[in-house]
Each structure stands twice: as structure tokens, then as C-alpha cells.
Assembly symmetry: C2
Homo-oligomer: 260 residues x 2
Amino acid sequence: MDQIQSISFIGSGNVATHLALALKEAGLHINEIYSQSHENARALAQKTGGKAIHTIEELDPLIDLYVISIPDGAIKHVMQNFPPVQGIVVHTSGITLMNVLEKLPLFGVLYPLQTFSKQRKPEMSSVPFCIEASSKEILLKLKKVASMLSSSVFEINSDQRQYLHLAAVMVNNYSNYLFRMAFDILETKGIDHTLLMPLIDETISKIKSLHPAVAQTGPARRKDTETIEKHLQLLEEHQDYKELYKIFAQQLTKKYNEQL
Amino acid sequence: MDQIQSISFIGSGNVATHLALALKEAGLHINEIYSQSHENARALAQKTGGKAIHTIEELDPLIDLYVISIPDGAIKHVMQNFPPVQGIVVHTSGITLMNVLEKLPLFGVLYPLQTFSKQRKPEMSSVPFCIEASSKEILLKLKKVASMLSSSVFEINSDQRQYLHLAAVMVNNYSNYLFRMAFDILETKGIDHTLLMPLIDETISKIKSLHPAVAQTGPARRKDTETIEKHLQLLEEHQDYKELYKIFAQQLTKKYNEQL
């Protein structure tokens, strides 16, 4: 097998869009784009010089690499109609096992560990690419493609990748929700939430030199139940945030004080 | 009243230490340091050129500013033995109301909205200082002192400050705990947690241009119950983390899908 040169996409969402653009910028050829939303497929085709197709059966079977980048739940469904292609087929999902693709001759996974929004161009060169493949030869080819996009490429198996995806949800989705909670609370009181930005920046800087288990500070760590009670009172108008606050306080108090 | 030139400290913890060092660097005179731990008081006195004293009653009554920087619960207790000083007395607490100091003639609050650890020197010039005072004259003096340390000085009343403190606990203490959870989960599986750092960095960069309510992504936002179920299975060995994950997933799913 030769080096990967032509790529088709199944999907046209945030990940597909940023990956396709980066691959095109890296000099690869974007061939066909299939998406449930033909309008989105056309938009991405226009940006990448590819061709939007209407059904998955139309996929040219002689392309080097097919990238399936669609919601996790839809991958199995797409596999039912996937044509008998000869190139490598990968998905980009964190939580989906590689063997969902096993009815195909050549397959693998190319999981970019990052949050993508259409509104923001990601710094692709620092995105960790987690790759897995059905053979060593395919692994090398995927490594080569990933290395054209990023300096951070790792061989990660399906089991490890699931835990990475779980951890990613915690550090991104759930910390983002905490930021939203904090911003909401301040906005309710007419306080500018940008006051919190230096603290948020320092929170992140800190864990680059101190493990978060050591960097931990605050009322729950020092078992300051009086402050925790006051905070819970302030949250009376936000019962959902109060519920979440309570569990954090309980777990932290327990973790840092149970041996005292 | 003239400008503040001499300062005494009650307390020798993380906040007291970094504040005293910064004030000394700004050219102010650190006078006395009182702390429950005389050893800590001596250590801070040595670093700042101040003098460690054994009891709070020994405080020189003619100092310009007294900074009480001790655990929240201890402030009321310290006030019971506080000598009749003529200078301004402030505390540095986020959650404690200013009027806890009202038996003194001149008082206020100097709350640095930041997380301090002894192991790390903070970037004091960007720390938001939230100030409040018992008179306009004192407010101006505190503003002047705070401005010697930071370019970010705000007048914040006791009620607003409590909400800021609550928000700070969420964005610092609780997001730090999420990072710890994620790191723990990866470490259990022998996966290097530094793989998450580009994602954590992007999570923070993103909310500088997009409100977190808009920046939100992930399985719960798109009501991907299959992925959430898989994650909960992966958390079987971490029942506490599982409990917290569940509540985040429930709240996010509800917030983003209840109108659909």
C-alpha cells in the first residue's frame, strides 16, 4: 500500500469540518463528502474542494482513507449501508470501539482529543491524536497522516480511549458547566464575570506544576462547614447548582479529612 | 489621615504571606506579625523585616493598617481580644461580612480574588482586589494601597463579595477537583494525564470569546444517553466520581434539551 493521499468524509459536523480543512491545508486531497444534511456536505465540499454526494452507496471505493466523523450513536447505523471499499476506514470517536468497523478489510481510529466548535479555529498542531488500527501497516499510515496535522500522536487502544473520552468530558464539558454556573450566579447579582478570569487562569497554570490533589484549596478541603453553609444559603435561588455544590463539598470534605 | 505606610499582619498563612511580601516589595513597612503559630509568624517576619509577636494584645496601636488574614471562622474569635487600635483594620475574607469588624473605629475589607499556595508566587499585578470600607476616606486609602499591588481594583460590597467567593469556589476548587477526578481515572489505567492539557487549555481559551453556555459541548448537551451510560459503566470502580458525573449529566441534559 502506498501513502495516504486521497480522503473522503462521512459527516460534516465540527470535527469533520476542522479535520477536513486541516488535511487539505496539509496538502492531502479531499475527495467526497457524505452527510445526512446535504446542505452541510455541500458547504464543507466547497471549503475543501471536495464533492458532496447524496447517498453513502455513492462513495468511490478506491479512495485511500474514509473518515467517519458523526455522532457516536450513528456509526453502527452507517456501517449497515457502508459500501465495500478497499481503502482504510476510520472513525474519530472517543467512546466507540474500533471493532464496530470490523466488517471492513482495513480499519482504524483517529481520535483528536480536543473540543471543536465551528466558531473557533483550533490549534491543530498541539491536538493529541489518538490512533489505533487493525494492522501495523495501517497504524503506520495513520501515524503518518496524523503527524502531518499535529506534533502529538499517540497509539491508544479502544479501552484506553474510552477512559480518555470520559476524562475529557470531565475536564471540558463539566468544568465548562461550572464556569457557566459561576457566571450565572454573578450575572444574577449584576457582577461582571470577567473578574473571575485571573483566578480561572491561575487554576489551570497551577495544575501544570502541582498535581490537582495537592493544588486543592478552599472551604471543603479545610472542613470549613460554616462557609459551606453560607454558600448553600446563597444558592437558594439555584436549586440545581445547590445540589451540585453540596456533592462537591461532601466529597472534598471526606477526601481531605477522613484520616484526621 | 495620611497615606498608609506601616502595616501589621494578623495571620501567616498563604494569603498573609503573599500579601505581606508584595506590600513590602511595593515599599511599605511591615511592622508586626501575630499568628496562632508563632513559628509561622517568625518565618514571615524574617522574610518581610517585620517583628513576630506572641499575643494579639501586644499589637502597636499606632500602625496605619492591620490586615487580618486568617481562616473565616477565626475572625470573630480574634475580634474578641483585638486591642483598641487607631489605624484601619481590614480582613481579607471573601465570605465574611465587613461589619464583623464594626466595634473598631476604622475598618474595611481587602479581598484578593485569587488562589494562593505557598509553593507558587502569584502574579499579583493581575489579581482583582475587591475593597470595601467603613468610610469614603478609608476606601480611598485602601484603593491606593491595592493599586500599588495590582492594576485591578474594584469596589465590592459585602453582599456582592459573598457571591464572588461562592463563584470562586466553583471555578477554582470544584474545577480543580474535576481535574483531579480525570487524572485519577487515567492514572488508574496507566494513561499519562498530560494528554489532557491541550484540551484543558482550550476549554479556558474558549470561554474568553464564547460564553460557557454557548461553548458547551459533549454527550449531555446533545442528549447522547448511550455515551453517558457507557461512561457510567467505566466509573463502576469510582462510586463517588460516578455520583458526581450523573448529576452533571442530568443537569446538562435537562438544560439543553427541555425545550426540544
